[in-house]
Amino acid sequence: MDIIKELDQNHTCLGLVPSIEYNNIIVNMAWQLSKKSVCYVTLNKTYDSLKELFEKKGVNMKNMVFIDAISKTIKKIDDNEDNCYYVSSPSALTEISLAISKFLKHDFDYLIFDSLTNLTVYEKNAPVAKFLSSLINKINETKTRAIFYTINMGEQSELIKEVSMFVDNTLNLENTG
């Protein structure tokens, strides 16, 4: 999957990721997009673990900043780091939204949201859909192109059905190596 081409043609995309290939696919996508500036929002991997994973797989992180909404749920964080902003929890939708809005002002080329599935642990589909609709409207006002990952739970998934309506395209992300 040429994600750069897809995001050239579509401002926002929903990426359906098979759970078994999840990490390989997100690394592959990050590797492709890291040639330009990227804001990476993580809800299931700590910033440290992403750094470890990306370094191991040769993903260039020089152009990346991170919004980490998971580390604070498991450990004490005193300060934000130069390229990482910590949010209290994946359930803090307002806080996540504010952090992303702040970062969108810096005109990143890409925003990666990893992942919508984790939002639904804490919130029902309706508040998540409302949060996303508002976020996507904000993104559409900027030059930043965004991809939202979700575990592919089949077309019957209510969340996938709802979010598909807000984004410009829905992609089945298969690992192409």
């Binding site: 299931n44 700590t46 750094k51 604070k72 749920t73 984790n118």
Partner: protein, 117 residues
């Protein structure tokens, strides 16, 4: 018989881990969140708690602080770095970190080891 408490907000995980461990001769109780776990600990005294990290309600970090003298193993989809895992395990009662999705044989092996130690 050793008792294990499985704390996970996903019913499928609770049910499957319970079945797997009961087949191996453990007594298993379940809790649907960290808050439910703390509530149940008033009457239950498990030898091990298998706890998801990402659950609604009180953050796991806070829940764990309130649990004394019971071994806890995280069982979670949340990915941490090796250094973070080591740091977490420095907390007195955190004994393991099992990554989801887990291999059944590996889960049993690790639970057996924790409860033998």
């Amino acid at each position: 018989m050793k008792k294990i408490m499985v704390v996970d907000d996903e019913p499928d995980i609770r049910a499957s881990v319970k079945t797997i461990l009961e087949k191996k001769g453990y007594k298993v109780v379940t809790a649907i969140s960290g808050d439910d776990c703390l509530k149940q600990l008033k009457k239950e005294k498990p030898d091990l708690i298998l706890m998801d990290i990402m659950m609604p309600g009180t953050p796991t970090r806070e829940v764990v602080k309130k649990i004394k003298d019971i071994k806890i193993s995280f069982l979670s989809v949340v990915r941490t770095s090796e250094a973070e895992k080591e740091e977490l395990m420095k907390q007195s009662n955190i004994v393991d970190f099992i990554q989801k999705p887990f291999d059944i044989d590996e889960l049993i092996k690790r639970v057996n080891k924790i409860l033998k130690d």
